[in-house]
């Protein structure tokens, strides 16, 4: 049997909303977004986060929000992904949105006359980058399962720190009283070489992905 690894994305995607935005920068904070802050100038281009805005009075003047040509025709209320306009500081979490005058294709310029119109600019985490965000376990180090609640099952693995007589526990939330069905669904994948390619996402709360199930298991969370 091939080596199979099980992935658990343990935190939901961090988000931070900016309203009444008065300049072209978005300052992420550890309290508002995530601790630690994203790091590296390529964090955005590598898909680590996205930036969206709900368009409000788009146009071409200083009393409009302005969008580059790549966005096509934008009308008020459109949810627009302006990630391509954004760059991030190497360590401070400061995101800069390129203006349309600087980037006629992907740029986004806030309404500079009425900054109160620049609401609902949302930064959303797309990938894990800290220890708490997720973990991959070797399925061969899976030691057992125990019912842990009416709608939860605890998966035990050998302790990743190497401590004897200790196990790591991952708790999966699923439909009520579907413990056995969840275990069967999990074993179907772990034991079947034809259904896996190495990394099996059991549950990822960040990307809202779950193991495919066929028994009404409805996996909905992990901790």
């Amino acid at each position: 049997m091939r080596n199979t690894n099980l992935y658990f994305g343990k935190t939901t995607a961090a988000t931070m909303t900016f309203d009444d935005e008065a300049n072209q920068t978005l300052a992420l904070t550890t309290g508002g977004f995530n601790d630690p802050l994203p790091a590296g100038v390529n964090f955005i281009t590598n898909g680590g986060l996205k930036v969206t805005v709900v368009a409000n009075d788009p146009g071409t003047g200083s009393d409009n929000q302005q969008f580059g040509s790549a966005y096509g025709t934008v009308v008020t209320g459109d949810l627009v992904d302006i990630t391509a306009a954004c760059t991030i500081h190497v360590s401070s979490g400061l995101i800069t949105m390129a203006t349309v005058s600087a980037d006629a294709v992907n740029g986004f310029t806030i309404n500079t006359d009425t900054t109160g119109d620049n609401d609902a600019i949302i930064v959303t985490q797309l990938k894990p980058y800290a220890p708490a965000h997720g973990i991959m376990y070797n399925a061969a180090k899976f030691t057992g399962v125990a019912v842990s609640g009416g709608a939860t099952t605890a998966l035990n693995f050998k302790d990743k720190e190497g401590v004897l007589a200790v196990v790591d526990t991952i708790t999966i939330t699923h439909a009520t009283s579907k413990h056995k069905e969840f275990i069967e669904d999990l074993m179907d994948v772990v034991a079947d070489d034809n259904r896996v390619t190495g990394l099996v996402v059991v549950r990822d709360d960040m990307r809202l992905l779950s193991l495919p199930t066929t028994r009404g298991t409805v996996i909905s969370g992990v901790a």
């Binding site: 680590g48 894990p128 220890p131 991959m136 990743k160 190495g198 990394l199």
Partner: protein
């Protein structure tokens, strides 16, 4: 199949203690992000002390933790005839993921 994972840290020449490591894939326990540019692989202790583990920290491009984990998992699922799987050979410039740039071995 008996599989072994190979790592080297980039020393030139790679001839000092702990410059490289080959470890049985069966000892691998888990992998998780540490920072936006590093992820750690944890193994049951190669030295069999029972109170520690063997750790390999992979440095990679920003925000590519999950991508590197996927690449490592795919590499480990491979079945080369000799069972020899290179995860990160910094000295030889061979990596199982295009996003990995460096490797550090600790608690060997």
């Amino acid at each position: 199949m008996n599989k072994n994972l190979y790592f080297s840290i980039g020393s030139a020449p790679s001839d000092a203690a702990d410059d490289a490591l080959m470890i049985n894939a069966d000892l691998f326990v888990s992998m998780n992000p540490v920072t936006a540019t590093t992820s750690i692989m944890l193994f049951l202790d190669r030295a069999n002390t029972g109170g520690a583990n063997t750790q390999v920290t992979l440095t990679h491009a920003e925000a590519m933790n999950i991508d590197v984990m996927e690449d490592v998992a795919i590499a480990m699922a491979g079945e080369p005839r000799d069972g020899f799987i290179v995860i990160a050979d910094v000295t030889g410039g061979e990596f199982c993921s295009p996003h990995i740039t460096d490797c550090e071995l600790t608690q060997l």
